[in-house]
């Protein structure tokens, strides 16, 4: 066993951490910064999402973990999971000429895609699609699509046959965002950035990418789940490091807060849970390329554990800060919101507990 990063991943981690500490601060976390995508492409961050076969130079769970932990530490709000990672990995799974061209654009930081898959009726289930493809037209409603209001193209899933839960009937379409029949309502998200509700009414301007897309979607979602867990791990590191510093600096009753045993012990509890979270993410990352039941078991274990630890970390770090932790101006709130909102993406704590039990049977 060896828990050290390879030299390449260590280099990627170091350069990404340096890039983000130089370019990404409170203004960027509020969405008032410059576009970081060209910088990320140049560092090779986007290439790390894909295997060499797909034209990248990474693609494994550990590559995703290194990248997204750093993005999480810096509180980056750009929808990298939903755009380049998820859309890119679905396209890579599907294969084909058109897909390859778009992949190249993604790695160069150019493509602007959103993954228009989730629906209100599905809650967290990826294999429930009510949007229909019938008589050559798309009709349906996609909800809370991260980056959906700014993307130039949408990857839209739709049911071609059978009931909404018929996996074999899920097809995938590329739809330009500005064609007739597509209406998009965009709004800010609690974790920063924007989400959108997307309505499709008799949309006929599309390119069908696959008529059996579910295996590719499921595979890509596993990668997104690992990335989301790693990102939350990074955000928790930052929240805890801020809290540790605050307990040392803030004085009440003539002494530092950290000298009060009740607070010191709670910090210790949080730090040990953080180590547990890191181990869970490592396990999930290490099994990302495993066969489905085993892969899903580790992904769900990580998402469940991160969900539980995340809530504890977000709530306790705010509590130990007191009022200042509640303010918009102080950065902690941003990280707390990202940590909690991560539980609302790709399945929450309970969803993954149920899934873990099902995959363990």
């Amino acid at each position: 066993m060896n828990f050290e990063l390879t030299e390449e991943r260590q280099l990627l981690q170091d350069s990404l951490r340096r890039f983000l500490s130089d370019t990404y601060g409170p203004a960027e976390r509020r969405g008032e910064g410059k576009d970081i995508m060209p910088g990320l492409a140049e560092l090779g961050v986007l290439g790390a999402f894909f295997t060499e076969d797909d034209g990248g130079f990474g693609g494994s769970g550990f590559d995703l973990m290194v990248v997204f932990e750093e993005l999480g530490r810096a509180g980056v709000i750009e929808p990298l999971i939903d755009g380049p990672l998820l859309c890119g990995r679905v396209l890579a799974e599907l294969g084909g000429e058109k897909q390859r061209t778009v992949l190249e654009e993604i790695m160069a930081g150019g493509a602007s895609l959103a993954f228009a898959h989730s629906e209100t009726g599905a809650r967290y289930d990826p294999d429930w699609v009510e949007t229909r493809f019938e008589n050559g037209a798309l009709n349906g409603h996609k909800s809370v699509i991260a980056g959906g209001g700014v993307a130039s193209s949408l990857l839209v899933s739709a049911c071609t046959s059978g009931a909404p839960d018929d996996r074999d009937g899920i097809a995938l379409f590329m739809v330009p965002a500005n064609v007739p029949g597509v209406s998009i309502r965009s709004y800010p998200l609690a974790q920063g950035g924007y989400g959108a509700d997307i309505n499709l009414e008799n949309v006929t301007a599309y390119e069908q990418l696959s008529d059996q897309a579910f295996p590719a979607i499921e595979q890509a979602l596993a990668g997104a789940t690992v990335a989301q867990c790693a990102e939350t791990l990074g955000a928790m590191e930052t929240a805890l490091s801020m809290t540790r510093d605050y307990l040392g600096a803030r004085r009440q009753f003539g002494r530092p807060l950290g000298s009060f045993q009740v607070l010191a012990h709670r910090l210790a509890d949080l730090m040990l849970e953080l180590e547990q979270a890191r181990s869970a993410v490592i396990l999930a990352a290490g099994h990302l390329d495993a066969m489905s039941p085993l892969r899903d078991r580790y992904c769900s274990a990580a998402k469940n554990l991160i969900g539980r630890v995340g809530r504890l970390v977000a709530e306790e770090t705010i509590q130990m800060h007191g009022g200042i932790g509640m303010t918009a101006e102080y950065d902690l709130g941003h990280f707390a919101k990202r940590i909690i909102m991560a539980d609302h993406r790709f399945g929450d704590t309970d969803y993954h507990l149920e899934r873990f039990i099902a995959r363990s049977a």
Binding site: G121, Y124, Y187, G195, Q252, M326, H334, H344
Partner: protein
């Protein structure tokens, strides 16, 4: 033991229900239910309705214009108001300052200030915490120096709730810089329109603006605005805090929160099935409900022990801790229930902007409320401070 309400209490409950049904506009109660921002006028409207009925000051003695209800009646009233989603009674004048003036104010002060609280002529806010005096409130530094028939006040207060609506502020100020920390503090009433008072809003992480910083630069306050004796303010402040905690368990809010979670979960579907039928969610919900059923009775037991109209003593710490835990758990469940729909940012919805995100479960700003309600375990003496008070009283005399 008798766990049922008396016939008189039940008749009183019916009267409260009928009153609310008659006086509270549906549109206003919907905004309360959905966690939308209330305006100053919304609060003033509801205060005026309660005042007409003589119900605005449930815990004040009748001779000051209060309802002078016992603990059971106040409990019934609080619960009915919360369940019907009325605006809350803004506590600063009615629950906090009122009792202090009644106990320690001069007759002249009582005659002048108390009717103005009831009529709404004055909106009070609280000037206690400072940037370096939070949990350690007695280390406060805002100074008041006597100059003829005025005090000259300098310093900064913070976390002043709804200070942006207030025209008056009651403050703890240091009048004896040489005394031990708790002994040089006085309780001073300050007109916020006096030159030198400045209010700056603080935005919270959910995008709401309800707390403020209040700055004082050479603010001249008539000595007649001192409550009680100089340097005795700490005693009055402690008295005030026990009254702040008469409804500290927030049973009514919790009950309304539980109903809201059930209503939302009943609308949420996963694979066509109601979320209420999901065993994991149902278990979480049932666990909080069990806790709340017990707390409701714990609350009544503690309140019954205290004399009518009086606040409970150290038990209020217990009630605050358990009450805030349950309310925070319910807010957590509400955000869980809506799933991915928790992510659309609340503040836009609170402000009622046109392009607000869709709300398929009629849930309102649940994530915003979840984050906002983290304040419950921080303000009014954090839960850590409450545990300190409670455990000290438990261990007194054991070593």
């Amino acid at each position: 033991m008798d766990l049922s309400f008396s016939a008189e209490d039940l008749a009183f409950r019916d009267e409260v229900r009928a009153f609310i049904a008659d006086k509270l506009p549906h549109e206003l109660s919907e905004r309360v239910r959905l966690g939308r921002k209330l305006t100053k006028q919304d609060h003033e409207f509801w205060h005026a309705k309660l005042n007409e009925k003589g119900w605005l000051a449930p815990n004040w003695p009748k001779r000051f214009g209060g309802a002078e209800w016992n603990a059971i009646r106040r409990h019934i009233f609080d619960e009915e108001c919360a369940m019907a989603h009325t605006p809350r009674i803004v506590p600063f004048g009615l629950t906090m300052l009122g009792p202090v003036l009644q106990e320690f104010g001069s007759e002249e002060q009582q005659n002048y200030w108390l009717p103005r609280i009831l009529s709404g002529a004055d909106w009070w806010c609280q000037g206690y915490s400072e940037p370096n005096a939070g949990s350690d409130l007695a280390s406060l530094k805002t100074s008041a120096v006597k100059d003829g028939d005025h005090y000259v006040v300098n310093g900064q207060k913070t976390w002043t709730t709804l200070g942006q609506y207030a025209n008056k502020i009651f403050c703890l100020v240091r009048t004896d810089a040489g005394a031990k920390s708790q002994e040089g503090i006085s309780f001073l009433l300050i007109d916020m329109e006096t030159p030198g008072v400045e209010v700056r809003p603080i935005e919270l992480l959910d995008g709401s603006v309800e707390v403020n910083e209040v700055w004082f630069s050479d603010v001249r306050v008539p000595v007649g605005n001192l409550v009680g004796e100089e340097n005795k303010g700490w005693t009055y402040a402690k008295y005030l805090l026990t009254h702040e905690r008469t409804n500290i368990a927030g049973v009514g809010f919790a009950q309304a929160g539980l109903d809201q979670v059930k209503r939302i979960a009943g609308r949420v579907r996963e694979r066509g099935r109601s979320l209420l039928e999901n065993p994991y969610f149902a278990a979480r919900l049932a666990t909080v409900e069990i806790d709340l059923m017990a707390m409701s009775t714990t609350n009544l037991r503690m309140l019954s022990k205290a004399a009518a109209g009086q606040a409970p003593g150290v038990e209020s710490s217990l009630l605050k801790i358990k009450g805030t835990q349950i309310r925070q758990e319910l807010n957590d469940l509400a955000r869980r229930a809506v799933g991915p729909h928790a992510m659309p940012f609340a503040s836009e919805a609170i402000e009622g902007v046109n392009d607000a995100p869709s709300d398929p479960f009629d849930a309102g700003a649940v994530a915003g409320k979840y984050f906002n309600m983290r304040k419950l375990s921080i303000y009014g003496g954090s839960n850590e401070i409450q545990r300190e008070i409670y455990s000290k009283s438990l261990l007194r005399g054991t070593s």
